[in-house]
Symmetry: C2
Subunit: 263 residues, 2 copies
DNA sequence: CGATTCCTTGAGACAGCTCAATTTCGGTGG
DNA sequence: CCACCGAAATTGAGCTGTCTCAAGGAATCG
């Protein structure tokens, strides 16, 4: 990984005030992420207390949600959309360190300042809780703390799996791994899609994928083309990818193939 | 990252029964990691309940503590020594995904099987708790769950910082980053060492460092030699490294230098 | 339908890898 | 204390996967 000669001057900082505040009033009971978010294990009473301090906030695709070092006054659950967590070095090298999908938790109780940039990739809606009341509630609500612990441990596992991808996999394996991860998630959502192949709709630009995989965008593009040439994937437009045979894709990840996606 | 032509046949599996069980009876009150481990926030009563279910277990340097896929009947705190958490691919490529130092927590409440290999690097002593009683205790002891959440979030941050190292840093920066991390820890332990330079005693072989950094051991060796030639570090034997000027080392990590180690 | 952004592809450069000797270190027994 | 041994570390020479730089081509949006 060579260091770039010159720092790319990508320091444009779109005004954080560009966010759109849509006044979506959703009852927790009807919430699409009710059973997977941090509130998943809360009972009706606990939910009511959460409901008191919650509010929604939306961000357009491409907008920053927070910059590294910013004080965030709230923690939140992602309700809709995709956001990224990333780190940037002084000379512009960038590494995504997390992908925030619906039901994922944003922010850290007990710390005001984020150490990472958080950016909306698609249009994003957050279910926000002001930090202090949330922390207070967490102290009284074991269900909340338990669930957050579980989610954090899952994220730690995901981060560690990603360390293997970043440290030891080839460019082709990295691409395949990324697609496999997204494919796996799509597959659990629409189990029917297994025969006939499954379509991945991933909202990331080639550059974003490169930042996730520790590659350059050119290498990402080349490897995607190579996987296409080899019949592993089929492009349907530039952001939509169809996977005719998931096993073939998984075989390209370098992992043991007994991941249990297809029995 | 090219894939190796042949899987290195390093599948020797030293008998896990080789462990030495030293019967160290330590009162929690006298425990060296009392204030930093998972039990840090427990009061006397809670500590007493933990004391009932705890037992010590020791491993010699180089011994496995667990293999990926193993069922671990216990969770534990590292009391003394250094252990590594790593993943290995089918063809032998290996990536360390965590370093376990005294006070770090091993295992995951709620999951019996480890997804990782855990290996004692130096002689290691663990303070173990059988899984079930520990989980039960955690449900009743918010202090325990809170502390574990905090520790997990710290580990998640560390993992994410490491993702930047793996994905975007040059070989030289990777080495410098590893040394800086260890140096930083040494520095907090012995603040006096700041002038006159500080000595790092890191118990890792070149190969282990390579597995941590996503490099080959030859590259690790070459970069260490280069840092030595450039006067950034001084070797005192092969495992002991002296850092005459910490700022110079930090400057080599590629990070912003205002890490606050030296004001 | 022009402008902008995103994507693809090529040619050459180079960082880090592979393969292959040595050399040094750390321990162990004479 | 020294000689010896195996393991670990160093160093060299050449190779290759990925990066850099550069030029078009496709998609998207006002």
């Amino acid at each position: 990984m060579p260091r770039p000669a010159i720092a790319p001057p990508k320091l444009s900082r779109p005004a954080p005030e560009g966010r759109v505040l849509r006044n979506v009033e959703v009852d927790c009971v009807d919430c699409p992420i009710r059973h997977r978010a941090v509130c998943a294990r809360c009972d009706a009473a606990e939910l009511a207390r959460l409901e008191e301090i919650k509010y929604y906030r939306s961000y357009e695709a491409g907008r920053p949600i927070a910059f590294a070092g910013d004080e965030m006054g709230f923690v939140a659950s992602v309700v809709r959309g995709v956001a990224t967590i990333s780190q940037t070095m002084a000379d512009g090298r960038k590494q995504m360190v997390g992908l925030l999908l619906p039901s994922d938790f944003v922010g850290r109780p007990g710390r005001a300042a984020t150490p990472y940039d958080v950016t909306a990739v698609s249009d994003v809606t957050l279910c926000c809780f002001r930090r202090k009341p949330f922390e207070a509630l967490m102290a009284q609500t074991p269900h909340l703390a338990e669930r957050l612990l579980d989610m954090s441990l899952d994220e730690l596992d995901a981060a560690r799996e990603w360390m293997l991808v970043l440290g030891r996999k080839t460019a082709r394996e990295k691409i395949a791994s990324l697609l496999a991860i997204v494919a796996r998630r799509e597959a659990t959502l629409s189990l029917a899609a297994l025969r006939g192949g499954l379509a991945i709709d991933l909202p990331l630009t080639r550059e974003a994928m490169a930042d996730y995989l520790g590659l350059t965008l050119e290498t990402v593009s080349r490897q995607i083309s190579a996987l296409r040439r080899d019949g592993i994937i089929v492009l349907e437009g530039t952001r939509r990818i169809r996977v005719p045979d998931i096993r073939a894709l998984l075989a390209e990840t370098g992992d043991d193939m007994d991941g249990g996606l297809v029995a």
